[in-house]
Symmetry: C2
Subunit: 874 residues, 2 copies
Amino acid sequence: MTKTPKYIYFFGGGITEGSAEMRNLLGGKGANLAEMASLNISVPPGFTITTEACSAYFDGGKKIPSSLWDDVLSNLKTLETTMGKELGGAADPLLVSVRSGAPASMPGMMDTVLNLGLNDKTAQGLALKTENEWFAYDCYRRFIAMFGNVVQGIAGEQFEKIIHRVKTKRNIEHDTDLSTKDLQTIIGQFKKVVKKNTGKEFPNDPLDQLRQTISAVFNSWHTPRAKTYRKLNNIPSEWGTGVNVQSMVYGNMGDSSATGVAFTRNPSTGEKKFFGEYMVNAQGEDVVAGIRTPHPISQLEQDMPASYKMLTEVCQTLEKHYHDMQDIEFTIQDNQLYLLQTRSGKRTATAAIKIAVDMVNEGLISKGQAVSRVPANQVDQIFHPTINPKAKVKVLGQGLGASPGAAVGKVVFTPEHAMAMAQEKERAILVRMETSPEDIHGMSVAQAILTAKGGMTSHAAVVARAMGKPCVSGLGDLTVDLKKKKAVLNGVTLKEGDSITLDGTSGEVFKGQVDLMQPRLTGSFTQLMSWVGKMRKLKVRANADTPHDALVAREFGAEGIGLCRTEHMFFEEDRILWVRKMILAESEKDRDVALKKLEPIQRRDFTEIFRAMEGLPVTIRLLDPPLHEFVPHVPAEVRVLAKAMKISPAKLTKKIDAMMELNPMLGLRGCRLGIVHPSIYQMQVQAIMEAACKLAKKKVRVLPEIMIPLVSTVSEFRLMRQHIDEVARSVIEKNGVKLTYKVGTMIELPRAALTADKIAEEADFFSFGTNDLTQTTFGLSRDDAGSFLPNYIEQEVLPQDPFVSVDQEGVGSLITMAIEKGRGVNEKLSLGICGEHGGDPASIQFFHKAGLDYVSCSPYRVPTALLACAQANI
Amino acid sequence: MTKTPKYIYFFGGGITEGSAEMRNLLGGKGANLAEMASLNISVPPGFTITTEACSAYFDGGKKIPSSLWDDVLSNLKTLETTMGKELGGAADPLLVSVRSGAPASMPGMMDTVLNLGLNDKTAQGLALKTENEWFAYDCYRRFIAMFGNVVQGIAGEQFEKIIHRVKTKRNIEHDTDLSTKDLQTIIGQFKKVVKKNTGKEFPNDPLDQLRQTISAVFNSWHTPRAKTYRKLNNIPSEWGTGVNVQSMVYGNMGDSSATGVAFTRNPSTGEKKFFGEYMVNAQGEDVVAGIRTPHPISQLEQDMPASYKMLTEVCQTLEKHYHDMQDIEFTIQDNQLYLLQTRSGKRTATAAIKIAVDMVNEGLISKGQAVSRVPANQVDQIFHPTINPKAKVKVLGQGLGASPGAAVGKVVFTPEHAMAMAQEKERAILVRMETSPEDIHGMSVAQAILTAKGGMTSHAAVVARAMGKPCVSGLGDLTVDLKKKKAVLNGVTLKEGDSITLDGTSGEVFKGQVDLMQPRLTGSFTQLMSWVGKMRKLKVRANADTPHDALVAREFGAEGIGLCRTEHMFFEEDRILWVRKMILAESEKDRDVALKKLEPIQRRDFTEIFRAMEGLPVTIRLLDPPLHEFVPHVPAEVRVLAKAMKISPAKLTKKIDAMMELNPMLGLRGCRLGIVHPSIYQMQVQAIMEAACKLAKKKVRVLPEIMIPLVSTVSEFRLMRQHIDEVARSVIEKNGVKLTYKVGTMIELPRAALTADKIAEEADFFSFGTNDLTQTTFGLSRDDAGSFLPNYIEQEVLPQDPFVSVDQEGVGSLITMAIEKGRGVNEKLSLGICGEHGGDPASIQFFHKAGLDYVSCSPYRVPTALLACAQANI
């Protein structure tokens, strides 16, 4: 006989069995309830069903194992003894809440049932015992609706409609204005809804209620919205959820009762100030659902000073205990404070940075902990734009500034529409009465979110902050008519497609497209980054193609340029005609004429970039893309060029057509251009070296690194390096300066990685081009993968988009191989990476382990990369 | 002091220093001259300058090292003593020939100078000594022209024009009809040509002549045509050439003298019969250049019976000594036979097979030697078509059947035009007065070659046989007017683009396109292949898509089908509409309707293929190419389909456009189709298994292997295999038969090779798709590489086209890795290759070493592959 595992852990009442360390087994909520109970914080007693029980439930084909049910009954007995009440007891009934709690926080994703244990008999008992009939029936109607919705799958609207009808009829505004009789009417109608939808009466037996609810919480682990959230947040689906069965405390027992949520510090700015909101005479779901707009927590100090004091003391205890900012749920039942949840609070990147730095200064955490705690992926949030103060604006309204940053976009009313706009690369702002987990897909592609209802902790606000996008919530003056596809805000009608601007910091909404301004950096950020500097092994360079980008990158802390794509300069107006003439030249002579025009232009670009990066290495990649990317395809442009080339448009068109390729990604590009048309690379090297020599003469320190793209064999590299060295040496000699330069290559084809030992014998550096390397290793075009990659992620064939986070198993093994082979023959070989993965923290972790010297990413990702490099090294 | 290497080896006159083994040092010609001298075969004495001397010459910047020249002088002294004549001697001058001789045979590629040592004084001396003034001046005019052409770079035409003018003036046809006075006139004019072209007098000093000629022979190693030949034949350019300086013997001393070339057996058919041609009163270059049409060797028996007897005896000696068919050059000087060269004779594949088998039967060589000796790459020549005897033909003329096989094509007159036609995928027949090495490129792309001049050993004939393409030479009735772009053959005018047919076996030329017939196999071939069968480790399968191909492949000895591309059946008329409806279906329901129509059609195909391959494995690849390859793009076809689909052409066009991809090679294809549209693969597996079960019920042994294309991760394979197994099991169960099947994958992406251990845990077999693997490993599209690959080969960046012969260093290392990883986890894993490389002997050598189980190639390459597999194993 196998020993039955311990499926249940009790907490509270002096017999707590779990602790915060047991998060994987108890889920985050259960583990922290146990921990708080051990800290003597006032927590309503209860018990936690483990995630192992959840797995056993699914392994057994969605059946509650009999040993589990036995344990539920015995723990229930303990709870009844502790509370001195009985579930289903007619006189003083025990009511319980049943809440999910997974090892990773999944806000709003899992389902909760409150007030379980009520039926006609116990409701009456509760009314008698509390001498508060209204309260008892308020609990009862809430229970039927929640059970009906969460456990029995009946649409919430069916219940809301009934309340709305009664309120309209009685001409009252708030739920709290309903009379006991109203509540009883509502209860009766609710039961009919249940009967109509399920074909059965509402279950009266509290044990039956409990059993069904536990199953429902387990089942909710596999709802589509939970799956989506897990996918978005990389949470393994094997984990399962815990279930917390806890004795009820009541925030809806009248004006001495309340319920609320709070953060120990401001989750938006990081300010060390107690932050949150509460509602008098309400139960928890009223706050989170954003049905009524709650009061700010500061008001509690006046409303219930004793409770407020207790609350702030609990917050201090929790922060000192957990060494982190906490997100708590609390209930005040008749002036008595209970904590229902504590967890590490989600925060904006700005807040994460400020809190981490402040806590170091407060002696709560170490610098290393501070650096580890800022989510590198979100750091670029702090560079969100703001409204230009000089911009002329027309304010349409003001709500709560729920997630910082300003955004411009076109109004859409549905998540589907937001997704369609994203497909078209259009910027959308999602405007809703309120949001729900079903909207997550749409929210993730929208520029910003605007809701009429809900507070700072409403679904829209929490999710927007996590996603790092601006949100204005609780804009009461806004009405949205989904059917007519229009919204009205203070008398102004907003139609689908109208442009608006919003400021998620101030909560303001503006008409049209308002000019935005780039953000400046805070002191905390500078402080944090100064620590980061000393904690890294990997250096961080930037991918910068223009002098402007180079300056921005350097300001953000870039330690050089890892990729300067010379062709990005080719499209500028003063040169595209010559670029085209060069490409389509009728003879080598004509080509040379065009190249002679381009050389001084390129030289000027390089001079400015070198100057901006004085003292730091600048890696310049020679021309890489297929030449046909530069030639005109529109008849009008063809005519202009034909005239300039003095040939007929028909002839030119024929030339252009002849350049087209079936698979340009695998065609005449990269060093193949240098081999077939050597004069192009010669011009570029000439321009680079002339620029470098000119500055060297002025005592400016320049460190040029010339990079050859798309090398597949050492013979390509050898031939190209020979050409480069010839030009470089002759320019240096002509200028009579001392100047060193490097010549290296991209490693972006499998063959280059496989033969890296050969190439490393001739090269000064490797830079992994992980975009192309991913494309060829998978045989997958980034441009075409859109038609099937989402399906791949959906079916879990791929864990994630390999263009976002590097595929360590396949592409990574080629990188590791190339590093070993390269370093094996050339100790001095410098190694970097310049694909999009250079700014992805998960990939940086891998590059750190693989032993690269640097990563290179876009200028705005530099701080992210710096942070991720330090985190990888801690 | 470093010891000076021995740069010269003497031969003949009883003091021979070299031997046949020293081919690398002495070149083939020099080594065999030494060997013949040792065998007491009558060879004019001389000496060979080594290939090391050639390297020293180039290393020293094209200067003859002084030690080399000292050796030349001392060996010349020995030669003078041996011959009793002096170079430059006025009374009885020694004349020498100077010939190149590389380690590998390079026919017609290198230059030769005959009669060196002549000047006004020695010519007179020669005339007096031989009492044959005509002969002496014939030699002299030849010498000036050859020296002028080969050493001084004067166009041969300038000399030929002079002779032509004199002949026309004197109204004579042949060079032999020229009078001594004519020859003297010619010599005078030749000298003027030299003076005019070089600005100097023709060099009188024989040592100066010799020195210049040795340099010229060395230099000819780097002429463009020599480079081209080396590239075509994979001869390393480091080798260098030897130089043979040999005392002259004269075939132009009158009617008792002759010169000729011969093969010990028929190089075209392999028949054991002395074969060749000769010219009376001529020197060697007259025969090879094809200026006059020579006599067949059989006629020599009547003309000079003693010489003929000696010649046949020498041939027997040589064959017994070399154990191979020989290609000899000989000269008869005044009834005295001299051998000037012997080498292994080039031969057609048919001849190679017959000679090898005959020599085994004659006890000359072993079976293993016989198998090794047939060039695997050329075996498919024996499957060349022949003229259908039932065809109605109009014979235009008949020349020599110089290279076997019949061909149909359009007349072109220049190699450039032949290449242009090849670009357009048009079949061309190159029609020339004669060919020269400059024409090789054009010849290699033409279907066949037709020349007016030249014999069986003319340039056209030799090259055509080596290339395995039909050739008719010596068609005297043909005249070609290059300027007017027309030819006249027996009064019929052939314009550019006119279709003709020729038979390279009979020498006939026909008007228009004549019906051709597929060849049958000879007894020798069957004999050889029976030996091959026992000498292999690798099995050979065929890539066959239709029942017809399967039957052909099996007849050729295929041991299964390694690749059946199901989509090749999709274009047939009875199904393409349904294929298109399936692809462009408006709904899953519509798609299912189309799939239901296609399933029985595919089932019938598979049934026939399985039946054709009874008892042998048949690997069927599920749908692979991008779906847009199947949809219509021509408006008329779009309208037809739109009507069938009951939607507007505009809507259909939009759907079709939406399917287009930027890089279809890296897009939605292979198993990605199976993942996105599972019903397509389900239909195919259904069809395969229904066909297999149906036959299994009839006791036909079927071995189906289902292959999943373009797998990059094991999760793709796992998901697809799950779908396949479900369908397969249900079909087998429904039919109630016992049937085993395999499920495996292509390894054609680097990622699949890198993670082969993971995939091998789930797969029954791997089949390397080396076409795609080469594309992705190099990042090189086969369709687009044409714009730069020739340049790469030209600049020696790549040694050869990696799509023809597998890149062992890069692609090969992935293959080796995948084999190791795959076998490491799955001992039973079956391993094959089904890319184009499966029929390439050099690649097969690699696959054998790598340890594959089989190769698969096109049906007509099966014998080649069988042979190459045996050769790899010997």
